[in-house]
Symmetry: C2
Subunit: 257 residues, 2 copies
């Protein structure tokens, strides 16, 4: 059986704790977070200090990307494989540890939304072959989709994930605020949002593209930008139009010539 200590009890730490707790193959020994009050729950030690970290198969740093390096430096020497869970952080920041790796579940976590790890791709990297072997075992406990990915590749995947997750969600946010401001029901858009994400399971995003920008429909584009009063949102609309038309200009003008 593998044993783990989890550092961080934010969105990722929380869901890893929940998922490992359900498994018979992984034992969570301790959960650390500076904001936790010390207590025990089903034998697991929740703590806010780093004074008594138990040895384990893995120490998992599930903290925000920008604090991983400094946090890693605070940890004592250990035989455990020290891993972080971040998309954009190189394995190099863990170089002060003997055994190291990365365990990056490619998903967006929120505490109040249940997660089924089975289909989540887990991108792993090991400082050495033996580290990778343990990380593979740990990952396969949770997911059927485990891939070995280098730090350089992982950063690229993380960037693509930001496009499809953070930025898409921000578009939902803008649409939601816009609908609210105009006393319209945002729920009207939910079937469309669902369909948009489903479509690309059966066709490429290029094939799925529709709309006034792709059609070079100047009149509709102008009607829309007139409705936008906030500078950033107007710029965003115009930049999207440019970017979409860059992808389809050959097709469009080719057809017209």
């Amino acid at each position: 059986m593998l044993s783990v200590v989890i550092f961080g009890y934010g969105n990722v730490g929380f869901h890893l704790y929940k998922a490992f707790q359900k498994s018979k193959d992984v034992q969570v020994l301790q959960v650390y977070s500076p904001s936790l009050k010390e207590h025990f729950k089903k034998g697991i030690h929740f703590t806010n200090t780093l004074n008594h970290i138990p040895e384990a198969s893995l120490w998992i740093i599930a903290l925000p990307d920008d604090v991983i390096a400094s946090f890693s430096g605070k940890l004592p020497k250990t035989e455990a494989i020290v891993v972080h869970t971040a998309g954009s952080v190189s394995i190099q920041v863990l170089s002060n540890h003997k055994n190291k790796g990365v365990f990056y579940p490619l998903q967006s976590f929120s505490k109040n939304k249940k997660v089924d790890f089975k289909k989540i791709p887990i991108c792993i990297e090991g400082g050495a072959k033996k580290d990778l072997k343990v990380l593979t075992s740990l990952s396969k406990v949770l997911s059927k989709n485990v891939v070995v990915i280098s730090s350089e590749e992982r950063l690229k995947i993380h960037l693509a994930a930001v496009w499809v997750n953070n930025f898409s969600n921000h578009l939902y946010h803008l649409a939601n605020d816009f609908m609210d401001e105009n006393a319209l029901d945002f729920n009207l858009l939910l079937p469309l949002i669902k369909e948009t994400s489903r479509k690309i399971e059966i066709m490429s995003p290029r094939t799925a593209q529709t709309g006034p920008a792709k059609r070079f429909d100047e009149k509709t584009l102008q009607l829309h930008t007139k409705l936008l009063t906030h500078t950033t949102h107007k710029e965003l609309y115009e930049l999207f139009t440019i970017s979409i038309q860059e992808k389809f200009k050959t097709e469009h003008f080719g057809k017209k010539l």
Copy 2:
């Protein structure tokens, strides 16, 4: 029983034809498209001319937004309710017709993706009460979600739909091309894309927002922009960062002060 003529056999016309054909309450009398070869299929006349348009309960113009006005002008006088299916086009462009309306299914259609109309919101508008009554009957044949929406509101909904559908899909397109260029598998992102659209069924997009822009994580933001070489895509990344941070600056700086 209602009878319809459909003008246009693109994404919308095609799916309306398919949906009405399945229904016992609506009879499709004719389908017109300039690119169709003349033939009959299950008693329905497919034609490429406007010489013999039968009278019907409704004539449905399912053509691109920017040709509806001029097409409407070409149609002969009729007792049918002439409707279009566009989000951004006012009912006014049909003012040459005695009976008129709008029938706007809020969904993105592609010919090679099946559509279940039941949950699709259908936004209707009638030139007169009696037109609206017929449009309501027609819409309820297809969907459980029928709403009366003015031309002004519809344009706003259409703009919001462009944000969540056209622009989100373009983000998928950019991510797909970026993954391909880096010899990475775009399919790795599909579970994340699905989850992103599902999340907002149980929480607001504001609550669902995560990522380096929201966290004001300068280091990660810089790592990402360095990876982007195409000007438009770099600008888009930077503008998204600004736009996301505008929404969260009070929360972020409030916490730090």
